[in-house]
Amino acid sequence: MNFLTDLLSLIGDFISNIIHSIFSFSPSIADAIVMGLAAIILCTFAALSFMALTYAERKIVARIQDRVGPNQAGPLGLLQPLADGIKMFTKEDTTPAAADRWVYNLAPLIIAVFALTTYAVLPFAPNVVGTNLNVGVFYVIAIGSGSIIAILMAGWGSNNKYALLGAFRTVSQLVGYEVPMLLNVLPIIMISGSLSLIDIINRQTLANGNAGLPNLLYFPLSAVVFLISGIAETARSPFDLLEAESEIVAGFHVEYSGMKFALFFLGEYVNALAVAFMFCVLFLGGYAGPILPPYIWLLLKAAVVFTIFMWLRGTLPRIRVDQMHDMNWKFFVPVSIIHLLISMVLLKVFTDTPSQLEATGGILVSSGTRMLILFVASALTLLVALGIAARRARMNRLAEEEVLAKRRMENMAAAGA
């Protein structure tokens, strides 16, 4: 097993030594060249998975909608992504007349680049990671917020009022849903004691006397809210009102066609896959798993999470923009803050390491009991919050129906009299 996990590092060392000895560069330059090769491999992986994901999405969503999906291009429609690519390449590349050329052309590039940069910190195996930043989680969130500028550039550079409005609304959604995302990553960071992704995964494995339980079992509310915020961050359905044809034509990328639109499309899917990977790393234990090699575990878990994304896309109707903001600021943020407070207190009070007990005092419980306490607290908070939200929604709906019924009675009375 170790050979398989360290295979890529061994290959990297091998190539670095070859370059160093044949071309007699200094070791640091040879390392830099190998890192460049690794970056190219990561980007190729992301692009290939983009192709596979578009095909899988169309097939799965079609089956949910009781139809077959693409089945003309190649056997079972397997060459559909290739056909899509050829179509995108050969479409005419238009530029609006009075658009700011630099801004207009740079925007899709920046979005695609930022989406790909997220993969640099994802650990595929204990030794296979682009760079083990000690601020890994923070870096991923910062990159996500950095790509928002490119959306504003796209909206402005199109010189189109609807594109600008679409860009504003998209930015307000993305900036809004960053808050619950951050607030729900905090309990994971608290319990892992580190911002580094590999440390977070190590805490969920059986190494170093850890319990080996995925963080999903500690903080289910965080997992649910992080998942929903992640879907909103990538503007996928049901949060895709900003690029819906019936709403605002196509939002901020209405003036883009051909390869530039393909870059936007790629950015969206690569971003969604990155969110799926992050969810796996933070809540499902990343590459940890018994028998199979680590990267297969990570890909399996990410595939399951992405299938959940596609399931939600095929099933739920689109959310209106005011409903989306309501849900974010009036439900997710208060619930996340309350959950954060509760988990902070419980984490401090119930510890499972005797050394921490001496340092800060508290109650010593076993790891399993601690997990159970946190799980019960988190699940209770989630259920109570959902209950309150459901009751309020029902009362709102009843009030609306009352108003409608009253108006109908008045109309009937007026028509009768």
């Binding site: 640091s28 700011d100 801004v103 930043l133 000690n134 601020v135 923070f138 870096y139 969130i141 910062a142 990159i143 917020s145 950095g146 928002i148 500028i149 504003l152 550039m153 402005w156 600008l164 504003f168 930015v171 900036v175 960053e178 911002l195």
Partner: protein, 240 residues
């Protein structure tokens, strides 16, 4: 020339050129984008300083929030673009900035200068040194010690609490100041301000005329009282 020196020089060039573009261009949107480029350069600089946490915080706070605010501001005040970027005191401002830059380089630079028996430059900071006399490396736990310092009562807990209260006030204040007001309300505000100006000018002229005719300065009518302003505003509107 080590690699880090080259990286520093490249980043410094990017930062300074982008900043110069920001303060001299007419197109505000491009200025905002160049500000973003400058911020990225500064984030790279923080990585060179072994403060990776602050590099990521710079991207998250400045580029992910402040730059978006500035771009929103630029887009919402669109009538004000395309004008000559420099105002009437721009030349004076440039001179002042150049002088201050000269003084700062004199004071902080590496060149020892003696003027009038006073010595400037090449300050001997007491650099941190570890046991072997080299610069110590930054411990991996610098983020943890920052966190502890922010909640330690003997260190920075009070400024931390004050900062959080300040952010709450800023949120409430910004929402209240920039709230959507009805058109009539905004027009009434504008009329009040212009009416007050007219009041002031009229009273100043009356004072001048009164002083020149009777030798005693007449007491000017109190400007800015809401009743008079509204009366004049209403009167002005009636004449309209």
């Amino acid at each position: 020339m080590t690699l880090q020196q080259l990286i520093f020089l490249g980043l410094a060039a990017v930062i300074v050129l982008a900043a110069l573009f920001v303060v001299s261009t007419r197109n505000l949107f491009r200025a905002a984008l160049m500000l973003v480029v400058s911020f990225f350069g500064i984030a790279g600089l923080y990585v060179l300083l072994d403060a990776g946490f602050f590099a990521v915080a710079q991207v998250l706070v400045y580029i992910g929030a402040i730059s978006i605010l500035i771009i929103f501001g630029v887009m919402l005040t669109r009538g004000m673009q395309g004008m000559e970027p420099r105002n009437t005191q721009a030349v004076g401002g440039a001179v002042v900035a150049a002088i201050i830059f000269g003084v700062l380089v004199l004071l902080l630079g590496p060149f020892h200068v003696t003027i009038n028996n006073r010595e400037f430059g090449n300050i001997a900071w007491n650099f941190a040194k570890d046991a072997t006399g080299n610069a110590p490396a930054v411990a991996d736990t610098y983020i943890a010690s920052l966190g502890v310092a922010l909640v330690d009562v003997n260190q920075f807990a009070l400024p931390f609490e004050l900062a959080s209260v300040m952010i709450l006030l800023v949120m409430i204040g910004a929402i209240w100041v920039a709230r959507e007001r009805k058109v009539a309300e905004v027009q009434a505000d504008r009329r009040d301000i212009l009416a007050e100006e007219r009041e002031e000018e009229a009273s100043i002229e009356a004072a001048k005329a009164g002083a020149s005719s009777t030798g005693v300065p007449a007491v000017p009518a109190a400007p800015g009282l809401p009743e008079t302003a509204i009366a004049h505003g209403a009167g002005g509107h009636g004449e309209h």
